[in-house]
Structure formats: C-alpha cells, structure tokens
C-alpha cells in the first residue's frame, strides 16, 4: 500500500512537472510568438518610416542614366572630299 502511494505520488509529481513544463513551453512559445508579432510591428513601423520619407517620383539611377546617355552621345560631322 505504502509502495502504491509512493508510486502514485511520483506519477502525480511527474504529471505536475510535465504540466508545468508544458505551460512553461506554452509560455515560452507565447513569448516567442509575441516577439514574432513584435517584429512585424517593427517592420510596419520601419515601413511607415520609409513611406513617410519623401518620394521624389524619380530615382537617382534614372537621373544618372539620363546624364550618361547625354554624355555618351556624339554628333560627328562629315567632311567633303576636299577637306
């Protein structure tokens, strides 16, 4: 009988430990989940920051491309036969 009580006690203790671990795991998971949720929030904030930045409607690359196209263009004259 004493032996049965001890075994039952072990089982209950183990059950409690496991249950506790489970909750802890859940908490831990929830914690991670919160972090994961926070990350997108930050990203949204970052995104909002980016969106808040002034968009000039033109990119630096487009302006640089115009410059290089202009600089590369040459208009060569033609000489007459006697020049």
């Amino acid at each position: 009988m004493k032996k049965q009580i001890i075994i039952t006690g072990f089982i209950l203790a183990a059950g409690l430990i496991l249950a506790g671990a489970g909750c802890g795991g859940q908490n831990a998971e929830q914690g991670t989940g919160q972090k994961e949720e926070q990350a997108p929030v930050n990203q949204v904030e970052n995104g909002e920051t980016t969106t808040d930045k002034i968009n000039p409607g033109v990119t630096k690359e487009e302006l640089n491309k115009l410059k290089s196209d202009l600089e590369e263009t040459e208009y060569d004259d033609l000489n007459a036969l006697t020049k």
């Binding site: 000039p56 409607g57 007459a80």
Partner: protein, 260 residues
Amino acid sequence: MKKTWLVVAVIASLLFQAGAASAATAGEAKQSWLAAGKIRITADTTYRQAQLDYAADKTPENEQKVVDTAKTVLGAALDEAEAWLNWKKAESEEDTAVPESIRQNIANDVAKNLAKINGLREEVSGIETRLEAGTVFLKMLGAYVELLVDVARNTGAAWAYVGNQRVQLAADYEAKLRETAEKLNDNAEIIAKLDIAKAEISVAKSKIKTAEAAYKKVVLPGTPLIKFSEGNNYLRQARENLINAQLQLARAFDLIISEK
C-alpha cells in the same frame, strides 16, 4: 554525356561570338570610318604634292605620279564613304530608340549608295591619263556628297528624335520633382534649381527644333554637308543644356531627399 557537353559548349560558343559581334559592330564601324578618314587625308596630301611636282617639272614620271595618286585618293574617299555608310547602318540597327521608319530609310539609303560606290570604283580604276584623273575627280566631288546626303539627312532626323525623347524625359523628371518640392515647407532652394532646369530644358527643346530644320535642308542642290554640320552644332548645344538641366535636377533631388 561527352557528346552532350560538346554540343552545349559549341552552342554556347556560337551564342557568345554572335553576341560579341553584334555588340561591337557600331563601335568598330565607327573606328573603321575614322581610320579610313585618316588614310584619305594622307592620300590627298600625297596627291596634292604630286600635282605640285608635276607643275614644277612636267616629266612623264611626274604625270604618272599624278594619275596614280589621284586614283589612290579617290579610292580612299570611296573607302571612307563606304565605312561611314556601314557605320550608320550598324548604328541605326542597334539604336532601338529610333522609330522603325527612320531606321528603314537609313537601311534603304545605305544599300542604294553602297551599290553606287561599286560603280564609282570601276570609273576610278579605269583612269589612265591625267586628264581623265581630273575629270573623274570633278565628277567625284558631286558624287561623293550624293552618296552621303540621304543617309546624313535621315541620321539627323534620328538624332533629333532621340534628342526630343530626352527633352521629354528631363521635363517629366522636372515635373515630378517640382510636384514633390511644392509639398515641402522649406522649398525655395529646390524650386530655384528646378526653375533653372526647366529653362535649360526649354532652350534645349528649341535648339533641337532648329537642328531639325537644318537637317531638312540636307539636300541637293545646296550645301548639305554644311547644313548637316549646322544641325549637329545645335544638337551639341542642346545636349549641353540638357546636361546643365540634369545637374540641377540631381541637386534638387538631393535637397528633397535630405528634407527628412
């Protein structure tokens, strides 16, 4: 397996070669034209010296030298014209920004005039006397311009078209930047730069229009090569105006970006 690799390697090699050839065509053609021009100028100097030598000492040897050098300079002039036509053809084929109708006109004119060059080469090779050399030379003065005039006019039209496209692009950029700048509180400096850019773009547009008018006068009878040169000059000025405009646009862009 080995065979498959071999086939793949051969195909890759062919594709690479084809790509390399088409990429270098217009640039190489231009270099050929520049080199042909130098050869023609040297040949012309030699011909003129032969004429002076003959004038000073009318020996049969000196007369033959006039004939030979005349044939050389005329041949070199035809080489130069041919190189220019080939360059223009390659350039128009590569420049997809130019409308198909202009490119087709250039291709047709080039084909027509390359055929004329072959006929003129036969006349040059048939020269035997100093008198014939003089006659063919005079004939070539007109024929040479005829060879180039149509392609020059169409080339001018193509350049003006591309110039107008760039004016439009610069004007679009200016409008977009201005729209953004007008929403900013502290925008006086930006607007001032955009005003300069707008003025430069406007001047460039006007100069391209003048260039177009000059290119339309690249016809015979007349002074087509001078008109071609005039058109080119206006386009060079327009290019400078657009470069100035781009500089102001870039500065305005930097100021807008640094606002936040």
